[in-house]
């Protein structure tokens, strides 16, 4: 392990530890809930950084995975609400209002919480694998990927709003039960939910870090830097891209489930275009090529958004400030805040040449390895 990797792991560990320690200084349930929300969005941004920053896939439809995960969790928790909020034989209230007589077949399995948690990850992954292989087998790249993913998001969003009888339409799914897992109850306004989310953030951060450090992760970075070259070496570029796309979707779906737990509802706004574009902003601000950077970017931006929109002076103008800051970062800090920190580290720690570098070095390395074996 190189010095740099060790430093990276140490940084990740310290940040996660700091996040985990927050409840020991803070026991205001309302504030903890707010922080937990920011952390969930951090996971979401981190997932985008995996596909955008590491594989070069600008997925403007990231919120689709997030929303699907969120709805899976909401469906399970809706079926567990106390009968007051439901119709005959536990039929969810909005179905009663829409004159639905029996529970639709695809709601049935959600009586099982295990299935719901599985589906919250598996449904987005399956969706991403379908869409991903459709896009990448056709060698669609760059801007067109962005447009297709955006269009796919709009389709999913419109369908969910349109199927009001089964999805709650514009209102989403509300009045949910609290999650009970391993004998623990996760009240949205309690430290238990905060811990659940902080631990989830830690686990998914290190999982994603492991993916980027694996061989597949290196090949993905090489694809990002020079797709054609990697293809000429005989790698199945489409498969690697679909893999990155699906892993990112899985993490986003996982984040969506957590979001339902802290928000206590699921809504079509969890998969609308503005949220999806906001994720891109958080990622760009924090640094798309740094998992931790992207997560912190989301936490900082949403945190500032929350703080600024609460104060009188900035209530109106924070969007303007955010827009301006964002344009400036795109112009002058294309690698985001993490990129700025990294170039600082570069000055202190001279680059060691043996380590798999983060940028072009990856493509060159893969090249060197393969051309050595080739004719």
């Amino acid at each position: 392990m190189s010095k740099r990797t060790a430093l990276q792991i140490a940084t990740y560990g310290i940040v996660c530890l700091a996040i985990l320690l927050v409840p020991s200084f803070m026991d205001d349930a309302f504030i903890l809930n707010k922080y937990a929300r920011y952390l969930v969005l951090g996971i979401l941004a981190m997932a985008l950084s995996l596909s955008w920053g590491y594989a070069g896939i600008l997925n403007l439809g990231q919120a689709a995975s997030f929303g699907l995960g969120s709805y899976c969790m909401a469906m399970a928790l809706k079926l567990r609400t106390v009968p007051v909020h439901t119709g005959k034989s536990g039929l969810p209230d909005f179905m009663v209002w829409n004159n639905v007589e029996t529970l639709p077949w695809f709601w049935e399995p959600f009586y099982s919480l295990t299935f719901a948690i599985f589906a919250g990850v598996a449904v987005p992954v399956a969706f991403a694998m379908l869409l991903g292989s459709f896009i990448f087998r056709g060698r669609v790249t760059g801007v067109y990927v962005a447009i297709i993913t955006l269009a796919a998001l709009v389709v999913v969003n419109l369908l969910i709003i349109d199927q009001q009888r089964y999805s709650g339409g514009f209102n989403g799914i509300t009045d949910l039960a609290q999650l009970e897992l391993f004998g623990l109850t996760f009240d949205a306004y309690s430290s238990s939910s905060y811990y659940l989310i902080a631990i989830s953030l830690t686990v998914s951060l290190f999982f994603a870090l492991a993916v980027t450090k694996s061989k597949a992760g290196l090949i993905l970075q090489a694809i990002r830097d020079h797709e054609e070259r990697v293809r000429y070496f005989g790698y199945d570029v489409a498969r690697f891209k679909t893999f990155a796309f699906a892993v990112s979707a899985g993490i986003a779906g996982f984040a969506g489930m957590l979001y339902t737990i802290v928000m206590e509802f699921a809504s079509p706004t969890f998969l609308d275009v503005p949220l999806s574009l906001s994720v891109v902003i958080w990622c760009a601000v924090g640094g798309r090529q740094s998992l931790l950077g992207a997560a912190l970017g989301a936490i900082i931006v949403t945190g500032m958004q929350g703080a600024l929109s609460e104060s009188e002076i900035f209530l109106e103008s924070w969007t303007l400030i955010m827009g301006f800051a964002f344009v400036m970062i795109v112009l002058f800090l294309p690698k985001g805040l993490a990129g700025a920190v990294e170039s600082l580290v570069d000055r202190i720690l001279p680059k060691d040449r043996t380590a798999p570098g983060k940028s072009k070095a990856a493509a060159d390395q893969c090249g060197a390895k393969n051309s050595a074996g080739g004719p």
């Binding site: 600008l58 459709f134 801007v143 419109l158 760009a284 303007l320 795109v330 112009l331």
Partner: protein, 289 residues
């Protein structure tokens, strides 16, 4: 028969507005490769300029069109010179930067004149309706149709019969070689952006009497206009017209005969499949790459 004819006319009316928005977008994208997500905000600013001129200066809509064109064109030119100029080597980042600009423009308008809906009066001479083959159609819609045809003709002339158009086409084929021949690509890029923005501003001014004016009004137009550009293929003016008509008529008919949401879903799915198999668009000319 008459309902069908009426439907066709409604579709054409939708298409003519789509064309005005998409034409500017197609020219900007075709020439500079910039995905301009702030294009909808150009439309919005055009509509607000029309509203401001009418409310504070008392100028009618038709008389103020020229002023609106140049105001929004200036706005587009400034954006190109301050932001876009730095991003030509990073096309994906233009999506982000122009989106940021769009957000800022919306919020700036909201702060300046408030977020409530505004209304622009239709020119009194055109508020009546005209009867064509037994179909009643509003004179103003006919005016939009005629004007967009004129503007399209002018754009075609500009692109294919003037030296500035030739330079522009040269740059869109190969910027570096064009520069070697002494074409000042920086200047042309600025002008292209200004012209595209101006067209969007005109579109905004023209729709302002038909729909209410709000800071968010641009968002719907930019998505639809993008679909037109994707369908028509860049660098093809005829393609832009054809796909405007196709999408305009399709939207008109689908909205009339079926569920609005489902129609939209179908159109979007069709676009996804289209990009996958024909990313160059339906009408793109064959070019050797």
């Amino acid at each position: 028969m008459e309902t069908i004819l009426a439907q066709i006319l409604t579709g054409l009316s939708i298409a003519s507005i789509l064309l005005l928005v998409a034409l500017g977008l197609a020219i900007i994208y075709g020439t500079t490769g910039v995905i301009n997500l702030a294009h909808g905000e150009f439309v919005m600013i055009g509509a607000y300029t029309a509203w401001a001129l009418q409310t504070y200066v008392g100028v009618g809509l038709i008389e103020s069109l020229v002023v609106i064109f140049f105001t929004v064109a200036l706005f587009g030119w400034i954006i190109e010179k301050t932001v876009i100029r730095h991003l030509y080597r990073r096309p994906l980042d233009t999506i982000l930067a122009t989106w940021g600009i769009g957000v800022m423009a919306q919020q700036a308008i909201r702060l300046a004149v408030g977020g409530e809906l505004r209304y622009v009066q239709m020119p009194s001479a055109m508020s009546s309706s005209v009867s064509i083959l037994g179909i009643e159609i509003s004179a103003f819609r006919l005016f939009i149709l005629a004007l967009s045809a004129v503007i399209f003709g002018f754009t075609w002339y500009l692109m294919y019969r003037t030296s500035i158009g030739m330079k522009l086409r040269a740059i869109s084929q190969d910027r570096e070689i064009a520069s070697c021949f002494g074409i000042q690509s920086k200047r042309i890029y600025g002008l292209t952006f200004a012209y595209g923005a101006g067209l969007a501003g005109l579109a905004g001014a023209l729709v302002s009497p038909l729909k209410s004016v709000s800071p968010e009004m641009g968002t719907t137009y930019v998505v639809d206009a993008f679909m037109v550009v994707v369908l028509g293929g860049v660098e093809s003016l005829i393609g832009t017209v054809a796909s405007s008509v196709i999408l305009g008529e399709l939207t008109g008919f689908l909205a009339f005969y079926s569920n609005d949401t489902l129609a939209k879903v179908l159109v979007f799915l069709a676009i996804v499949v289209l990009i996958r198999f024909r990313p160059q668009g339906l009408f793109a000319a064959k070019v050797r790459s």
